[in-house]
């Protein structure tokens, strides 16, 4: 009798544990803000949309390296030392320069350390920026469009007959 009880309890515990783990796997546990407030209200809608500045003017390393890069403060000010200097946000931006402080932008797209995602190789394969980053020229405040989960990556790799070897990304 005691043995039976013990077995049952053990089974219950195992079942609960497995159930819990399955739930953990399927729940959308990414609780990070998809469109967080940035320290300065930089608008892609205005820069990339209205003014049609090329993505690579600011994200300069996209074609040459794995990381596209955010523009350094000096690059922002190369225009904004002269343009729209009377606007309060631009004065805020100039304030960062005066204090010699970098702008602490909030990072939207981040992959785990065990994933290697090279921007330059994807651009070479003529993947549009918008495929992963969405129509940024329509966004006044940036938001994360893609889930950036492994299944999502593999989907695209399969569709485009890119390598789905483990070592392609986990190197």
């Amino acid at each position: 009798m005691k043995k039976l009880l013990l077995t049952l309890v053990l089974l219950c515990v195992t079942g609960l544990l497995l159930g819990g783990l399955t739930l953990l796997y399927h729940l959308p546990l990414d609780t990070r803000d998809r469109s967080p407030q940035q320290p300065l209200p930089f608008s892609h809608l205005q820069h990339a949309g209205d003014l049609q500045i090329d993505c690579r003017f600011c994200h300069r390393h996209a074609e040459t390296g794995p990381v596209a890069g955010v523009p350094d403060l000096d690059l922002c000010l190369s225009c904004h030392r002269h343009i729209a200097t009377d606007k309060p946000t631009i004065q805020q931006l100039a304030g960062y320069w005066d204090r010699q402080e970098p702008v602490p932008w909030v990072r939207l797209h981040q992959l785990p350390d065990h994933v290697y995602f090279p921007h330059h190789l994807h651009l070479r394969a003529q993947v549009e920026c918008s495929y992963c980053h969405g129509q940024v020229e329509n966004m006044a405040q940036m938001q994360r469009i893609a889930s950036l989960k492994m299944g999502w990556c593999l989907n695209c790799h399969r569709q485009n007959q890119a390598s789905i070897d483990c070592w392609a990304c986990h190197m």
Partner: protein
């Protein structure tokens, strides 16, 4: 631990580790204010060649720099000393660079000495203070002052010598516990350090030389040892270690003979005796050295196996087998280490090992010892020099100390009296990067750049069979508000004015370095000096032609040390 508590703890740690895996909020994305001049591609590293000054061996390094930060240090494959390998000390260079406790700007003592209370000041104030402190010492009747440093080679040696020689009663004391320069004086009276051809030897005897840890260059000899053991298809070199401590090197030996401290030489003489008896010594070398076999025979006659066993305290069977092996296996090589050199009978002990090598016929031949002319001989001081200085400090004849890259308050034993005499000095100025035992006593600290932020030339203390000048270049922008020691000396000379400013007119240490290198490196003599310099920096230094063999001072051996002198340490009571 009880099973129950184990399960509880295990469950708890499992749960917390799973919780920690959950993603928290968005991270920050911090851009550069102004990108570095040479341009960076985020995610793609740049590699710079430089040199390692963490120990006197002077290995070449390659540093991986990502987004303007040094990330990893490895050996430079083109450097003749370390050939692409690097030891733990060199790998740890990054910890020095980014250490949270590094002194980030000049400090002036504000509390009592040794309390660690300092007032951060600007470089202008600190340099003004240094000039003020040093100016009275330019007078001819001033008290003595001393510059403590490790044995320096190359341009920093000439600069500090030039600087200190401007003070009538100034002196430089170059001493470091790891310095191997006693080897040059202690063995064969050669001018440079020896290069042991471990790779080609078949039987190695180490008399207290921990060549896999600290002796000469652990990286160079670690590789050579591997070659000796495994690189030849039919031969596995054998290795016996004679010395009291089971060091890492001793543990790698086939046989460890734990001889009493100061008695290792007895085994060397035991082998000498047997070599003479069995007529298996190298007659040509003995003749070249001008030694008389009959004299040596008479001197070593008493060193029978039994006596060697009694003197060293090693079991007779082990002594016998070692002597048998050393006499029958050729080429055999004996190397002497710090364990011998730091005893009071060092001269005799080193001469015994030296004599053994002469009988093996080991000079300048494969599997033996190569002595080459050194590219630059460091100004180095011995422990007796240090004792004399401590005496002068106690007599208040020395009033000011400048401390560069050394920590004598830690590395000297309190019985030397250094710590006490040092703490009473009226003025102590340090160039340390950290608050250590010595710099805690300092009145003024002017922090030096770290290895990876400095310009410099590094001539390896570990000898190579070709001429080498390793070059150091800054691979990152200085992390803190520090200044290179050489720059501080030049700025001080300028501040002091007069004769010393005329002697040291260079604006920066880099200028001094380029001037010095131009004199020493033939490649830099031409008109394309800048391109050549860039090339040398890119490859990590100047790797010149094979060195000339060094002159050997045979006179030292002409009269072999009398056996009676060795008796001074009978029973290991040194």
């Amino acid at each position: 631990m009880k099973r129950r508590s184990f399960l509880q703890l295990g469950g708890m740690s499992l749960a917390t580790s799973m919780l920690a895996g959950c993603r928290k909020g968005n991270e920050k994305l911090i851009p550069f204010l102004v990108p570095p001049d040479d341009g960076i591609t985020p995610g793609t590293a740049n590699y710079y060649a430089s040199a390692c000054r963490q120990c006197p061996a002077g290995c070449g390094i390659l540093v991986r720099v990502s987004e303007g930060r040094a990330k990893k240090v490895e050996g430079n494959p083109r450097h003749p000393v370390n050939q692409g390998k690097l030891c733990a000390r060199g790998q740890a260079m990054l910890q020095e660079l980014y250490h949270p406790d590094r002194i980030s700007q000049p400090l002036i003592r504000s509390g009592p000495r040794g309390s660690g209370q300092y007032q951060p000041v600007s470089w202008e104030v600190a340099l003004k203070q240094l000039v003020e402190d040093l100016s009275p010492y330019l007078a001819a009747d001033s008290p003595g002052m001393v510059l403590f440093s490790p044995p320096l080679r190359g341009s920093l040696a000439t600069l500090s010598k030039e600087f200190i020689s401007q003070f009538p009663n100034g002196e430089q004391l170059a001493w470091e516990p790891l310095q191997p320069d006693w080897l040059a004086q202690g063995m064969f009276g050669a001018r440079g350090n020896p290069d042991y051809d471990l790779e080609n030897t078949q039987y190695l005897l180490s008399f207290g030389a921990d060549f896999l840890e600290t002796h000469l260059s652990p990286v160079r000899y670690g590789q050579a040892f591997g070659q000796m053991r495994q690189a030849r298809p039919t031969v596995r070199g054998r290795f016996s270690y004679i010395g009291p401590r089971l060091s890492m090197t001793a543990a790698s030996a086939d046989r460890w003979l734990p001889a009493k401290p100061g008695s290792e030489w007895a085994l060397a003489l035991g082998i000498v005796r047997r070599l003479l008896q069995s007529q298996s010594y190298d007659a040509a070398t003995v003749k070249a050295a001008g030694l008389s076999i009959t004299t040596i025979e008479a001197q070593v006659e008493t060193y029978t196996e039994e006596r060697v066993a009694e003197l060293t305290g090693v079991p007779l069977a082990d002594v016998r087998t070692t002597i048998d092996e050393a006499v029958s296996i050729s080429p055999a090589l004996a190397i002497a280490g710090e364990m011998l050199a730091w005893q009071s009978n060092a001269a005799e002990a080193l001469a015994a090992v030296e004599l053994l090598n002469v009988l093996f016929g080991n000079l300048n031949r494969p599997g033996g010892i190569y002595y080459t002319e050194p590219t630059s001989k460091p100004a180095t001081n011995s422990y007796p020099d240090l004792n004399r200085l401590i005496g002068r400090m106690q007599d208040e004849k020395v009033q000011l100390a400048l401390i560069h890259a050394s920590n004598p308050a830690y590395s000297l034993p309190p019985s030397s009296g250094f710590q006490q005499a040092f703490s009473k000095l009226p003025r102590i100025i340090s160039f340390a990067s950290f608050l250590d035992e010595t710099s805690l006593q300092a009145d003024l600290i002017l922090p030096d750049h770290s290895n990876l932020e400095s310009w410099g030339d590094l001539i390896p203390a570990a000898a190579t069979r070709s001429e080498v000048i390793g070059l150091m270049q800054p691979v990152v922008k200085p992390v803190h508000d520090t200044r290179a020691f050489g720059d501080v000396l030049l700025a001080t000379a300028k501040g002091l004015g007069g004769r010393i400013a005329k002697k040291l007119p260079e604006q920066s240490y880099l200028q001094w370095l380029e001037k010095e290198l131009g004199e020493r490196i033939p490649d830099l003599a031409g008109a394309d000096k800048q391109q050549q310099m860039d090339r040398l920096l890119q490859q990590g230094g100047w790797f010149g032609p094979p060195s000339k063999p060094s002159r050997i001072d045979w006179l030292r051996l002409a009269a072999p040390p009398a056996a009676a002198q060795f008796n001074a340490c009978r029973g290991g009571s040194v």
